[in-house]
Subunit: 229 residues, 2 copies
DNA sequence: CGCTTAATTGATCAGGGTCAATCGTGGTGG
DNA sequence: CCACCACGATTGACCCTGATCAATTAAGCG
């Protein structure tokens, strides 16, 4: 696993403020947080927050993909989660962040101030219920990721990742991988070479087809599910 | 990894009801949930709940150790967490459980009815806050476990596990492992043999001493922390 | 049309899984 | 009280998967 540039260079934090967020909180159900957020645009590769930062805000993804990750002492990075539209991230109990977050692609996010939301929650019961749900969703994600990491074979991991991404991105047969092979590898606890080999193997077996490097066509879902064990 | 007996045989659920729980909720701070729980004793090895069960209750550990785990299609089991005194487990959003839980040692637990707590929470803001904190604590645990699983070497994993267990069990130099090698292996995504080899290697290097099979004396914390990378 | 970065492919090596034998310990019954 | 038994843990030998090192190809991008 390579030493990541992001580990050495501090990326400047440049977020473009867009407008009040009340018009696109991205939920069909009446969204109690509608008025509490602010919309920002983050360019691909930009840092959203870093380990050690204040936990004074959290985020919801409107569009784009975010990676939440940790940089280990030896320079490796472990990606804990990819967040897509509708996902909330950056909620933590402590005062300082345990993780950092960066934009995998250009993103639109809603920023919520922690204190504002806490104040709202103390008056509106639906808000605290909502916050609890966010926490539980993140918990389910993390648990799923643990299970993925615990899988034995490399092929299993990659297959499970493709299926999971297909499901989460809401696409059906042709899925677009917003992330690089390196990012997939850092998410699955593998090397870039192994990820690459697994994918080409799937292609040889006629399970998938690689239209571009980023666009994967799933030809045989059943076979992929079998591979994912 | 071996097929676990627990995967083949359904363990009968026999919990001894003890008394109203208000006298030992196990927290120094005023515990709003004091009156909502019931205390039960669970014998070592007994099932607390299984995958697919109703999510109508959740638990807090008063004493003993609980494993929360998932049985994979191939018969392997993955242990997602060990829960000790003070930990809450079994909270889920869905109606059916994704995981099962069993007593690693004889345990005393407090059982909370989900609906009761929800009703309390709608009136008492401290309760919903408390529930949110439980969720966040579980999230932190799960994230930590992901990081542990993503570690490269077997020795790293085992060393990190020992340190984590030392911290969580609150003991200082001599730690008592409530679980078997198999359980450690299933938690770390390793085999029983590899766990064993790592431990004996640590002993040869003078980092730890194995008083019993279950009682580990940590002789050199610094070295262990180095090993955990 | 080069230049840079990402991805693929190949060859080699080592860490950990697997299989198998042995040891140790605690519990039971003669 | 001791012998035996059953189960968990340890140890050893071997093999296989995935990491590592290295070279090549592909793809953006100015």
């Amino acid at each position: 696993m390579t030493i990541h540039p992001a580990f050495q260079a501090t990326v400047s934090k440049t977020a473009t403020l867009v407008a009040g967020a009340d018009w696109l909180a991205g939920q069909k159900t009446p969204e109690p947080l509608r008025t509490a957020g602010t919309v920002v645009q983050i360019a691909e590769g930009r840092e959203i927050f870093a380990e050690g930062d204040d936990t004074d805000v959290f985020y919801k993804v409107v569009s784009g993909v975010v990676r939440v990750c940790k940089f280990l002492a030896d320079g490796r990075r472990q990606i804990a989660a990819f967040q897509v539209a509708g996902d909330v991230f950056g909620i933590e109990l402590g005062l300082e962040r345990e993780m950092s977050a960066e934009a995998v692609s250009d993103c639109t996010l809603v920023v919520y101030r922690r204190r504002s939301v806490e104040q709202l929650a103390s008056r509106d019961e639906t808000i605290s219920r909502q916050m609890f749900q966010f926490a539980m969703q993140n918990l389910a994600q993390a648990t799923g990721h643990s299970l993925l990491l615990a899988r034995r074979g490399a092929a299993e991991k990659v297959a499970a990742f493709l299926l999971d991404w297909q499901f989460r991105s809401g696409e059906k047969n042709v899925i677009h991988l917003a992330m690089t092979r390196q990012e997939i590898a850092d998410y699955l606890g593998l090397t870039i070479e192994t990820v690459s080999r697994s994918l080409t193997q799937f292609e040889r077996d006629g399970v998938i087809a690689l239209r571009n490097i980023r666009d994967v066509c799933i030809l045989n879902t059943d076979a992929l599910e079998d591979l994912a064990a």
